[in-house]
């Protein structure tokens, strides 16, 4: 993963709640055996008409949101299945930050494995951000992970909370597996004890 850097980008608005992973990446695109190339299918069923043309009604098709790296969305974003294809599609499309009041647990974990910063805000903060985008589509926000800060032109910025471990991994771009394997000796020791305590699991 690339180390996560401070950036200023267009914030796109998705004023919907409970956006589920079946919408983010519909199941017909889950058959690939690679990790890449899912961005063109992001929100497929909402984004495209039956004839394959762009659905002009869909918010992310607005020219003002073109090139957005920040997605501001309603409550409980990413609910449903465990498919990591959802954050793969989001990242591949170009987003590297999501702002919402809440996320489904598995989706939230998956974001951080793929260089996407999922920021949690309260309802009041979200309402203000949504209002700012609605009033000025194409507006750019600054995301500063180091200082856990979002800055907006209208002054709706805020400091956000984030687990220090997740933050550290995003900033360094470090591989989780490599970090865990530093504890190889402890894992082996645990397994040794596990075999003594629960021999039927190893029979």
């Amino acid at each position: 993963m690339e180390p996560y850097k401070k950036h200023e980008s267009i914030a796109a608005l998705m004023d919907r709640s409970n956006v589920d992973t079946d919408q983010i990446i519909p199941k017909q695109f889950l058959k690939k055996v690679e990790r890449s190339g899912f961005g063109i299918h992001l929100f497929h069923d909402w984004r495209f008409n039956d004839d394959g043309s762009d659905n002009a009604e869909f918010e992310l098709n607005k020219p003002t949101f073109k090139g957005a790296k920040i997605l501001v969305a309603g409550d409980n974003f990413g609910c449903g299945s465990s498919r990591e294809h959802a954050p793969w599609a989001i990242a591949d499309y170009g987003f590297n930050a999501i702002i919402s009041t809440s996320y489904a647990d598995i989706f939230y974990n998956n974001c951080f494995k793929n260089g996407i910063l999922a920021i949690k805000v309260n309802k009041d903060q979200l309402d203000k951000l949504m209002a700012e985008i609605s009033a000025n589509e194409g507006v750019c926000f600054v995301i500063d992970l180091e200082n856990q800060q979002v800055i907006t032109p209208a002054g709706n910025g805020f400091i956000f909370e984030i687990d220090p471990f997740r933050k550290g991994n995003l900033l360094s771009g470090l591989d989780d597996i490599g970090l865990t394997l530093k504890h190889e000796a402890k894992i082996t020791e645990y397994e040794h004890q596990h075999k003594q305590d629960y021999p039927w699991l190893w029979a």
């Binding site: 709640s17 409970n18 589920d20 079946d22 919408q23 519909p26 199941k27 017909q28 889950l30 058959k31 690939k32 055996v33 690679e34 990790r35 069923d45 309603g74 409550d75 409980n76 609910c79 449903g80 299945s81 465990s82 498919r83 990591e84 954050p87 809440s102 996320y103 489904a104 647990d105 598995i106 974990n109 998956n110 494995k113 793929n114 687990d163 220090p164 471990f165 997740r166 591989d175 989780d176 597996i177 970090l179 865990t180 394997l181 504890h183 402890k186 894992i187 645990y190 397994e191 596990h194 629960y198 021999p199 039927w200 699991l201 190893w202 029979a203």
Partner: protein, 465 residues
Amino acid sequence: MKKTMYEKIWDSHLVVDAADQAPLLYVDRHLMHEVTSPQAFEGLRISGRKVRNPHSILATMDHCVPTKNRDQPIADPIARKQIETMAENCFENGLNLYDMKNPNNGVIHVVVPEHGFVHPGMVVVCGDSHTATHGAFGALAFGIGTSEVEHVMATQTLPQNKSKTMQVVVNGTLSKYASAKDIALAITGKIGTAGGTGHVIEYTGEAIRELSMEGRMTLCNMAIEAGARAGLVAPDEKTYEYLKGREFAPSAQHWDQALAYWKSLPTDDGAVFDTTVTLDASDIAPQVSWGTSPEQVVGVDGLVPAPESFSDEIKRKACEGALAYMGLTANTKITDIAIDLVFIGSCTNGRIEDFRIAAEVAKGTKVAKGVIAIAVPGSYHVKQQAEDEGLDKIFIDAGWEWRDPGCSMCLAMNGDELTKGQRSASTSNRNFEGRQGKGGRTHLVSPAMAAAAASAGHFVDIRKL
């Protein structure tokens, strides 16, 4: 210190708990299917890592497999490649795979219990949100993403933050024809799809103890629909009886030792949950979902709600959107909704008991004119058992299609799907837009309700049959 069952399992699986990183949890069992694993194997290959404990893994093919004409090659070349990749990956790494032609094949969450692969007190993961199913055995079982699948293969551990605990107490007794599925839907209706976020649910109460192991699997399966990380039911005599003698259950030599451990797992009297929700089973009517989220449910004797009946603005908007997508009018009687297709199957309701109750309702009836009814057993073993009991004949005589096992129309990856505007009564777990096919309209119900709808052509209150 009094502990909940979740806390006991957590504590006994903690490998590293350092201040500067997320706790590392040991994983006992790793379940796999073809959709969420290929990129994890690719990651292992690229980094030159190996599967740490191949014996901890059981793999199947279920999401993309056809449920008919299984003797022919899969028509969809991308699905075929995914299936082939799964076989190659399992072969290369020495993993136990129940491939499409294996008599043990079926939906991962149906197959795993059949072989006694999950026991009480284990930590179990799978790249699949419905892994929660195995909480029925008192195992901490949860869905993970593909990066985490790779992580578990390489390290047998997972960095995890501790969840909060929620107790869902279901008192009383279910009425006839109300089932575990109706409890699951009623809970989701009550607490919402984000109600359990950040929590592990433990289901307790008289109605839960009364459920069979299969009913408990149905219930825990849908813990994820209420947003929870996992669902748990304390093991008891039913659990031990179910496991005894199965292929991967503890052998006679270890049985007493395993049993003593299992009996230590239930939540201590006086342990404190972060949240408690209480329902009365006798109040739960057979449920029908009317919208595009599993929280949008109502009893079969109810009406499609009107947007203005919701005081919460977000729910009102969600209702408007759902009614438009579902092609429904507010205040329509649920029993007046006509359906085009019926699906019985999935990891939620694809077990033998589900087909028994559905067959009881379907017996001597005929599928209504214009309705397609499909029965898809959760595994070849379920299929065989049903055929041994003559259930297949009941379905076939009633005009149903009797298929081979797979996830099938639960998520419609294998070609079994709704067309635009088609409306289903489905025993699966999600009614999201397009879940069963683009433009398809899904109503979630129990197997008995699905079978009754097939012959009537619309929903019926099975309590009145």
